[in-house]
Subunit: 326 residues, 2 copies
């Protein structure tokens, strides 16, 4: 910056003003500085700027997800990044690869960078992490599930209820040989519990379940489904924990010549594009994964702009959309 000042023959403060509050400068000096900036290819150091300016805001928000390689999270991240970008914030990405122990280290690193806000996936942070976050005093939003006492803010839906609704949907359509294909992971387990509860409430005590160790490979869907089917001949409906898995099961049914939904009903989760591209069209539980990112971003933004906004807990809900596969 001092190079620019010298080149333009003005003081440091003037250069700073030319960049941050150009309206407070004479046209003459402004032009001088701009020319010098141009000539030197000067790019202001934002870090130094935020260090010096009051509050030291970094204009960076960090997000932690299991992996962005999973569509469900990548769409949340996409929406979040877009929302933040509109507010002038940038996104620092952290991935745990489903190792929940990694979360604390990531948070620590982000806090060290003085991120202005944080979005977390899930609601099962350790007590020490919760405490650390509260002490940090920055807005935090947990996502993808619900709970009573969030660290700060929360946007998600009830995975347990999703499971229950899935069971009820399947039973209402006359299927009682129920199966569940999911992941060995928090939210999937919650859905399985809900699924079992929903089934039990209608007198279906036995539910087949296959939990895949993340990262879930869609190609596992077929084999896992095959296992369940041979273990339990009366199986006639499966709830897959994402539409990709469901598509895999549908393909497996095609291969076996099993009619969907007559011989086997298949219910997905997410309402991914493939649900509408599959044949038959997939019935699915729609969850607003994009909305999660958008809302999380908005909540952060309004908090960061000083608004003491309204709801700190938003339940986005979900919807069972019935198409042709159930």
């Amino acid at each position: 910056m001092s190079d620019v000042a010298r080149e333009a023959g003005v003081s440091l403060a003037t250069v700073s003003r030319a960049i941050n509050e150009p309206e407070k400068l004479s046209a003459e000096k402004l032009a001088l500085v701009r020319a010098a900036v141009e000539r030197l290819g000067y790019v202001p150091n934002l870090n130094a700027g935020s260090l010096a300016s009051a509050g030291g805001k970094s204009r960076i928000v960090a997000a932690i997800v299991p992996t962005v390689a999973n569509v469900v999270f990548s769409e949340t991240v996409d929406a979040l990044a877009q929302t933040l970008a509109r507010g002038g914030y940038q996104l620092l990405l952290g991935q745990t690869s489903y190792r929940s122990g990694d979360e604390e280290g990531l948070v620590e690193a982000f806090l060290g960078r003085r991120v202005d806000g944080l979005v977390l996936t899930g609601t099962t942070q350790s007590a020490s992490l919760r405490a650390k976050l509260k002490r940090a005093g920055i807005p935090v939003v947990q996502t993808w599930d619900l709970m009573d006492k969030p660290i700060d803010m929360l946007v998600g839906f009830s995975n347990f209820e999703v499971g229950r609704a899935a069971a009820e949907h399947l039973i209402a359509r006359g299927h009682r040989g129920l199966g569940f294909i999911g992941a060995q992971e928090e939210r999937s387990r919650q859905r399985l519990e809900g699924f079992r509860a929903g089934a039990a409430a209608h007198g279906v005590a036995d539910v087949q379940a296959e939990l895949i160790l993340p990262p879930v490979d869609i190609a596992d869907a077929g084999p896992r489904f095959a296992q369940m089917a041979s273990r339990c001949p009366e199986l006639n409906a499966v709830f897959c924990n994402n539409d990709m898995l469901a598509a895999g099961v549908v393909f497996e049914c095609h291969q076996r010549g099993w009619a969907v939904p007559q011989r086997m009903a298949v219910l997905g989760l997410g309402d991914l594009p493939i649900a509408r591209a599959a044949f038959p069209r997939l019935s699915t539980v729609e969850v607003r994964r994009g909305q999660i990112g958008t809302r999380a971003g908005q909540m952060l933004l309004s908090r960061l702009s000083g608004e003491r906004s309204g709801a700190d807990i938003v339940d986005l809900g979900f919807e069972v959309v019935t198409r042709a596969s159930t």
Copy 2:
């Protein structure tokens, strides 16, 4: 930090050392400082640190992709983030939403943050952007395509050759009524050119093409395919620019009762998990999207650690994998 110093009864320098070079402190003082840090919940400000320390490295690398919501890029980003994390770097994410004009603004912002490195998607940056990047003097790696004179480093494969190979594969297997479904986007266009060239080389002059405006919705695959098929009754093989699209086409064929590949051959791109989950199993052009991220990360890391490493251009190639759908 001064709070910690006071609390521990030592100087600022000692606190700094306790954090960055604990081996150079007496066990006594070290314990003192650590206790104070613990008691106060102190988190060192990394920004201030990098400002003060020579070189001012931020330990942040930025990546710009069209969108992380597209599997192909999300896997690259996933791999990149993981690789960088292992080297102690974090990832700042920028999305253009396919608006290539947004790229320059993002770069500007990242440069302002003094990121230590940058990874770009594609090779079609404007001259002014190229110049800016070169002047910035940080390692830059372009990805997802090939070119002769990259800004700095490059890791990708030839999209043109992918297209050509796809055409040759299809023709070799006896299909001559060729179609192409892709996106209105740089790399997809390159593949179409290659596809046409490959077809022409074997005397197939007429190639049907459908280019979808991004973001590509998989549910468009069926309708687009239907259009092509009705426009050109002799169509008997389509090359889809990603496996999702290909799965969509396969579903459409199921629906029409068209046997794949007998009535219609379907070739995908990417070798996504769904290619092995589909029925019939999808033939596809495998491109190493994870590798792109990993290699880009490694190249950056080795450059950042001072190694004057070897190849600055790496061609990852691709492979046509023949399964059951062609």
